[in-house]
Symmetry: C2
Subunit: 324 residues, 2 copies
Amino acid sequence: MELRYLSRADVESLCISMADIIAVVEEGFRRKGMGETQMPPKIAIHSRPGEAFLHAMPAYVGGLDIAAIKWVGGNEENLKRGLPNITGLIVINDAETMVPLAIMDGSWITAMRTGAANAVAMKYLGPASADTVAVVGCGVQGRSNLLAMLTHYTGIARVQCYDVVPQALEAFVGEAETRYDGVEFVAAAGPRAAVEGADVVVTAGPSPKHPSPYLRADWLKQGAMAAPVDYMGAWDAQLAVEVEKLITDDHAQMDYYRSKGYFADIPRPYADLGEVVAGLKPGRECPEERTMSICMGIAVDDAVTAGLVYERACAAGVGAELPL
Amino acid sequence: MELRYLSRADVESLCISMADIIAVVEEGFRRKGMGETQMPPKIAIHSRPGEAFLHAMPAYVGGLDIAAIKWVGGNEENLKRGLPNITGLIVINDAETMVPLAIMDGSWITAMRTGAANAVAMKYLGPASADTVAVVGCGVQGRSNLLAMLTHYTGIARVQCYDVVPQALEAFVGEAETRYDGVEFVAAAGPRAAVEGADVVVTAGPSPKHPSPYLRADWLKQGAMAAPVDYMGAWDAQLAVEVEKLITDDHAQMDYYRSKGYFADIPRPYADLGEVVAGLKPGRECPEERTMSICMGIAVDDAVTAGLVYERACAAGVGAELPL
């Protein structure tokens, strides 16, 4: 028996488009909404006090018939050592025999699937079109969410960017200007200037357990959507109360994080994204609504994206064959 | 960043002795007893109805400072396809940075650590010495448990073997006679002949949820120990009630299996093996006691064994270096 190993470079070399990832992530949410997925609540070990963690995130996606696990870890001290904060591996198994088929680096996939999940949320809860959007927090997730927004909304003319670290903001804007033609990127002078006038606001800064929010709820305009991927680290919690529709990517996972101290003062979302995608509960119903989707990132997102990566890698003959 | 990949052949090529594995597994149980391990209850996905499964088994072992996960799956239909019933991978992470250090095949480790855990149980609950032992169920676990018994008890003169499948029994005895000099191996005519007179009885047959036990409680002699690794698939449940001391390797895991329908009519064990190894509860207290240890196999066993394998592989330069 052999299994395929895909390094981060292998995974990236396949040049899988964000559009393709959004499509499989949407299908994952549909299957989840239809009750065809299995995703036991993640389990964790903490080998050091503080924020260091390792999470086991298995999932089975019916229909696509993908069985996979992500084993992902992080230690915020890593950045001081010149190491990535988050690293992880994804294993894909044959869903019939359970034999492992492939092991792949999970870092590119984690970034891409998180952006893709937000794009799916925008499709169902965001405004029908977007001229101006905002990215607050200009790191890895800011980049993949920018790509996801530009993929989903083809009419974006202006992106208002902000980061508390001026160098990060400058680097982000410079890089984006080079990468995306025909879009104006603005380094906002402050958080308010970034958010005001935006049709969609992605916040992708740090995810502290007890946030000190610096975005006021009334800065989000009528008809706009807030898409925090920072566990509500930036927005005043009041916005989650005020919006017409608040959804999440998984109730059970949000409950887990609540038990860890996150999401205080955030009401229970009225639906999860899978229910909306599957048509069981409505998404946006009128142009004036303000909406919010809190996507924390779920194992189903990883499984479907890894399944796509595996399929493309086999077709392209990319990766190393290892004996089991 | 690089990580090391060890195939099953790589793992086996290190020729790590059962004695060394028993030693690290004992240390794992000691750490568990002292409350220095983290082992969240395993989580499962079932991509097919029936007995097919994939389990995520993470553990952190303090003191040894090992962070690892086993991702193990099985489908009983595999044997008909010429595939192993159980396959799995173990990932070891740097316990400080959480970066993955190594991926290795988990099948040899699973077999060896299960035998080793039983040897630890024998050290604390078995008779002080053993002349005659029994192996009922002559598959992979029968083999590794035989090795574990012969490693722990150096005075074994006779091994009484039994399997419901005559060919399996014959192959087991032939193989053991070739491998172990100076020990008599007897193919017992039936289960009673195998068990009677044995100082230690390992049962390693199938693990049905609703067993049809074929070993009577009164066949286990005074002063002997029963070590079922088959989730009590062979022994009359009455034996678990009668023995002076019943222990398990993990209460939480036994409770999980109870919720799945296993271990009906089995009383709650009075201790777990970690508590006994750590000296918090007594093991065997007199030669006449009959004892039983139900070891189901826990993630801590895998983690410490994988840690030993990784250390030896690095020292010997075995395995492939993969880019992360």
